[in-house]
Subunit: 409 residues, 2 copies
């Protein structure tokens, strides 16, 4: 059961001028489900992306990175689920290239104007016949699909589609931005079996877009973790269709830029958090906040040490304030000169540890009460600096084991 | 159910001359179980230890490290289960000191000749009245307890006592070594809620003992992981009673030294592996072998990346050759210039990945068959150097979640 997540209302997902969507049911892994999505972008769109840091990164990731670098002007994205095309070597790369070239042919554009994305099982060859048939169908249907269809078409173990849309006023102009994401396992910073796409109609300069896509990932998709596993295929793509030429962001320093960036951040954070809320077997949505660190890097070490500890996560699942496990996780987070007698820990506003020891006023009942909620915040004060960070994660439940022990069967 | 582990036969556990054992049932956490162990060493014994690297290390760890450094000649060890005396600040340190001083008084030795060890729940104050009563009882019974009793007295979530003994011939002399260990969760390199003690009657010079304790830990207790959590209390202690003066190891370069070290290694590895075999919820015992790395450090990164991946561990549990998860874990093991197209992966002798792709001759049935065994080996060849390492781990089962969600209740 997802934690405070419901299916988006299709009526709340606004079309973005300059983006056409089409999907297909190609039967890549199972028949009868949407598993191919094609996004066609109007000429002149700007696109920026960030990708997995996994060294075993998938063939389509390598290809999409190359095509983005060639700056020929991206005109189409094609996404398949059911097969990751990772750990497939040169034949896998050729398959990704073949897919791009097929799309290019059908749309009358160049191969390097196409980005390719895959998600699913690793180390199995792509079923190219079904893929190309599906792509052909999806292209045929371009313009008929909604963002809700698109969100559904990229799901794998997700239980719900994930999408978010914002319409904002920038001066006299109305700007529309809509995004979709997928992912429920193998979720970790930098990034996860997670795909995210956000498009907006404002006109954002390529340099600004390149900067923003990294900044947005760093405050959303790079701050979530379910199981500490970084996938081979993660990608986050930001698209400006330039359809609304009245709003021009050239440097990112314009007053309008801040408004648009904040709205994009809201969309990205919502899409990223939706992945955690739908995390495999998740029964809780937990915010881990680390304050007073010497650097954000240091704060992140502590936050992930807590977020990745199976012992902490099972205690979250059990609503058991076994808080020593949190202290232990802080203790092994690999900060050499950490002074544990300066550390305070809170569950929501209940102070559980003060100066490295159990808080004098601590009542287990109060901590248990906080942990019994399906959403709560763990705050750690390190008392050694001014940097801070926030990470979102889930508990570790029986259901997680079931899902991952049975995923392929 | 532990994996290929049975309770040691008390008759196989040989007394070590110069070590007297006593236990008590002090009711620290629950009544009716052995929870205090006292080891009294004959005058002149040499002792060396390695301890947790967790910054939140427990009060008794701090105290024992100090006492070892003071080199007053350790004469007694006292171990309690049920409470870790960690995250307890200065009052916790005073409690550990009080315990040491109590033991010293009763035995007519100095306080800094006593080492103190605790394991159990973190961040709760030690019940000192019960502890001291128990210690008193244990001292009263010194000499009556066996190594089997000792192994039982240090258990927490362990389902079986862990002990190992070897009697070896060194020239005309017979050397006896016996050890015990405990631990089943929060198990990780450097080290875990794990305690290990090995005593032998040969005469080993303090400098050699100091070196050996580290070397032994590095090939045994520092090569096991269940959940990646490093505990606050881990300790491994090596004791030479010097009872058998006929075998003198002064430099470690003597021909006898090699024989003794190898036997100690066998005992340490057996004790460490017993912890994994009894791992919380373990249904499999998995050896992860990484070869052809540029350094052992690099090999360890890859090995732990695989051993800590919840996705790999659930696949092990399910006997599901979802081998892409292993490749993904290798890919995110943080080796910058890793060339994935050089990597081979084997399950026992079945080659599953060759040059970074699925092996041409790979049959899923063969991999499934290997994984259905309760013990198997994953071998990774990196093809970039000559260093290698071995790590032992478990799968991740429903039972693991149950145990850790319910541990305190």
């Amino acid at each position: 059961m997802p934690v405070h997540l419901s299916s988006p209302n299709p009526l709340d997902l606004h079309p973005v001028a300059g983006v056409q969507l089409g999907f297909a049911m190609a039967g890549i892994k199972r028949p009868g489900r949407k598993d191919i999505l094609v996004m066609k972008l109007a000429e002149g769109a700007s696109v920026a992306g960030v990708f997995t840091k996994n060294r075993f990164c998938a063939a389509p990731v390598l290809l999409s990175q190359t095509h983005l670098q060639q700056s020929a002007g991206i005109r189409a994205l094609v996404i398949n689920t059911g097969n990751a095309n990772a750990g497939t070597g040169d034949p896998g790369y050729q398959d990704a290239l073949k897919t791009a070239s097929f799309v290019a042919n059908q749309l009358g554009i160049q191969t390097n104007q196409v980005l390719v994305f895959s998600t699913g099982v690793i180390m199995e060859p792509l079923p190219m016949t079904r893929i190309l048939e599906g792509v052909s169908q999806a292209i045929h249907g371009l313009g008929q699909a909604t963002w809700f269809d698109a969100a559904t078409a990229i799901m794998t173990t997700d239980t719900l589609p994930k999408a978010c849309s914002r319409v904002i006023q920038v001066g006299a102009e109305t700007i529309t931005m809509t995004g979709i994401s997928k992912g429920a396992g193998m979720i970790c910073p930098n990034m996860a079996t997670m795909l995210g796409y956000v498009a907006l109609d404002a006109s954002i300069h390529q340099d600004v877009l390149n900067r923003w896509v990294k900044q947005l990932a760093d405050c959303s998709f790079n701050r979530i973790t379910i199981d500490g596993d970084t996938s081979t295929n993660d990608s986050f793509v930001l698209i400006s269709t330039h359809h609304n030429q009245a709003v021009q962001i050239q440097t990112g320093n314009e007053p309008e830029a801040k408004i648009i960036f904040e709205a994009l951040k809201e969309v990205s954070v919502t899409l990223a958090q939706a992945i955690i809320r739908d995390g495999e077997g998740a029964t809780k949505f937990i915010t881990i906040q680390v304050k007073q660190a010497q650097s954000e890097q240091e704060a992140l070490k502590v936050a992930y040490s807590i977020a990745h500890s199976p012992l902490v996560k099972t205690a979250f699942f059990a609503s058991d304030p076994n808080l020593g496990r949190i202290l232990a996780a802080i203790g092994y987070s690999d900060i050499d000169d950490l002074q544990v007698n300066l550390i305070n820990v809170y569950l929501n506003d209940v102070c559980v540890a003060q100066a490295g020891c159990r808080s004098v006023n601590y009542k287990e009942e109060a901590a248990k009460q906080v942990m019994s909620h399906s959403e709560f915040t763990v705050t750690v004060e390190l008392n050694r600096g001014h940097a801070s960070t926030v990470v979102w994660t889930t508990d570790l439940s029986h259901e997680y084991v079931s899902i991952n022990a049975d995923y392929r069967s």
